[in-house]
Each structure stands twice: as structure tokens, then as C-alpha cells.
Subunit: 199 residues, 2 copies
């Protein structure tokens, strides 16, 4: 474990589910060094196919910070889900970006149906993985090469971690903080956002 | 209890804490009629002092849907918190808007230090209310007329409900859904976002 700073890219797209990415965004951007100057340990930003505003599934309009062409290697890659994932699965440029960035990243994390994008990129073949409970059947059908797991808040296979739906993005993000910075930093982060539930 | 549709306005401002408002936004916009056409029961939108983009405390840039001058009476008013609340407390036009809209609304809900804005608007005098656990002392000092409560996830005084910090916005929003639409609708909403923790 090291306290070196990490960059976190969160992919967003039209009809992304708001909490799928807002949960990890909140957690990762709240991570602080517990000693010294209590500086931020994770630099979090959003990435989209272009820098045009993204309309989330529930209507909130978000301005992406980078386009995928501008965003190079990052330490942590976050792929949220939502109704817009189905369209994103057919966007080869996006799927290829996910594959490349994930292969270079220290950790790749999906939330909800974001795991569909990881599967589409060939990153989950022969691995256990999960998704939103309502989409378990669809994931099995679409991606028979994936060992789809249900009733888990997240499935950690080392460099790739897939989480269940929506609010599970908060839990998996705290798990990632624990892996990268240790239990004390993760608990302090959870305390800061008043989220006792994950452990 | 009635299944009539409600409008929900969420106030945002520079340096608002992301999850403070994204949690309630996700919950309220996920509420569906359990029978018939399963239509959306709550129409959720953001409001800011102007329609200029708002930069949340963690860097995410959001496009507000309405300015406070355009946004008239709503059924549910949500006031999040975050570092930017302190600046907002001195914006008389904003505080006055909060007072007026809250007095007309069926329910007003604050998250985190959003309760400071309700107190500034004179809405919490003589009432029990809460805030983020780290801000309990500051709230007592700033607003001695408020009966500040700690160690509660939310405090429901009827037409005004104040919640604890950040993630507690998810819990209080589900509580509001239960009050407005009953336990079955609230549980279905929680199931949709995979959030079992609140009850």
C-alpha cells in the first residue's frame, strides 16, 4: 500500500444513471491523506466520447471534463451503467477506449450495467463479475463467456472489480480506497460522507 | 397518501457537495407508480441563482435547469449543503427564495449543511434539526434558536425535514417517498437503486 496520488477517470454518456457515477465521484474525490497537509489523494474527472454536455438518464446535464481522445492513461478507470449503456456497447470507439485504458490502469471498476461495457471490451472473459440484480439474466445471455455472479455487492478479481447496481458504486469505491490506501483512510472517507454501511 | 405527481426543485450552487444533491435526485427521479403504466411520480430538476453552470465542490460541472427567478412554487424543495453553503448564506436573494418556496411547498428537505440555509431563512426557529456530524457545533453557535439534534439520520418535523451529511440524503429521500407514496413505493424505489440500508 502506498499513499501515492492516483488519477481517476469516470466515463459518462447520455442516459448514464446519475448515482452510478456520482457515488464513486464523491467517494474518490473525498479521499484525503490522514497526516501532514491532508491533501487530496485522488484526482477525479469525467470523460465522455466528446466534450458535449451529457444528459443523465434522470435529466441532469453534466459537462464532461475530457473527451476520450484527450484522456490518456489513468490509474483508476470507472465505468458506470444505466439505460445508455446499450447504445454505448455499439460505439466501437468507446469500447476500444475502455479496453485500452483498462489494460493500462491499475484498477478498473464498473457499477451496475457498466460491467456490460467491460464484457463487450473482452475484459471479463472467464472471470466472475456482477451487475444490477435486474440485469443478471440479460448479462448471462449477452456474455456467456463471463461467470456472472449474483447477490454480491461487488466482485473483486484483482485488476477488475464489478459492482452491483446504483448505490453499490459507493460501497465498491470505499473498497477500492481500502485496497489502495488502507482501512484507516477508507474508514475516514466513509465517515466524511456519513456512510457506515459498506464494511 | 395520494399518488398525485409532485415537482421537486433541488437548489445547487458553486461548491455544493455532489452526493448531497445527487442522492435525492437519483431517489426522487426513480419513483414510479407500481401499477398501470409505471409512470414517473416525481418531476425533479435543479435550480440555481442563475442558469450559469455550477461547479460542485469536487469539480463536477452541472448545468442548472432553472434560475431561482424562473422557478415558482414546487411540491418538494431540496436544499443540499457543502462548502458553498457559507457563501450562499450571505446571498439574500437566495435565502429569500428558499424562505418563500419552503413556505409554499408541501415538504422541504435539507441535506448536510443545507440546514444552515433553512436556519438562515428563519425556517428552523424553535424546531429540532440536524446537519453533518462535523458541523453540529457550528450549527449550535450560528443558530442558537434551533434545537440542534445529533446522531439522527434525519429529523422530521412535518413540513420540514433535515438530514445528516452527504449519503444521508439518500436515506431521507426514501423516507420522503414513504411519506408521500407509502412504504411499498419507497421499498420498490430502494430496490431499484439497490439501497437496503435506510429502513
Amino acid at each position: 500500500m502506498t499513499l501515492r496520488k492516483r488519477t481517476v477517470a469516470i466515463l459518462i454518456f447520455d442516459d448514464v444513471e446519475l448515482l452510478d457515477f456520482a457515488g464513486p465521484f464523491e467517494v474518490f474525490s473525498s479521499v484525503r491523506n490522514l497526516t501532514g497537509d491532508h491533501e487530496r489523494l485522488m484526482d477525479v474527472f469525467t470523460v465522455a466520447e466528446s466534450t458535449a454536455p451529457v444528459r443523465c438518464r434522470n435529466g441532469l446535464v453534466v459537462q464532461p471534463e475530457w473527451s476520450i481522445d484527450e484522456c490518456q492513461t489513468v490509474d483508476v478507470l470507472v465505468i458506470p451503467g444505466g439505460a445508455g449503456v446499450r447504445a454505448a456497447l455499439g460505439r466501437n470507439h468507446v469500447v476500444e477506449w475502455v479496453r485500452t485504458r483498462a489494460q493500462e490502469a491499475e484498477l478498473t471498476v464498473s457499477v451496475c450495467t457498466g460491467s456490460f461495457l467491460l464484457a463487450q471490451a473482452g475484459l471479463l472473459s472467464g472471470r466472475p463479475a456482477t451487475t444490477h440484480w435486474e440485469r443478471i439474466g440479460e448479462m448471462r445471455e449477452r456474455f456467456p463467456e463471463v461467470e456472472v455472479v449474483e447477490d454480491e455487492r461487488w466482485v473483486d478479481t484483482g485488476d477488475i472489480i464489478t459492482a452491483a447496481g446504483v448505490s453499490a458504486g459507493i460501497d465498491v469505491a470505499l473498497h477500492v480506497v481500502r485496497r489502495l490506501y488502507g482501512a484507516d483512510v477508507a474508514r475516514a472517507t466513509a465517515l466524511g460522507i456519513e456512510y457506515d454501511y459498506w464494511e
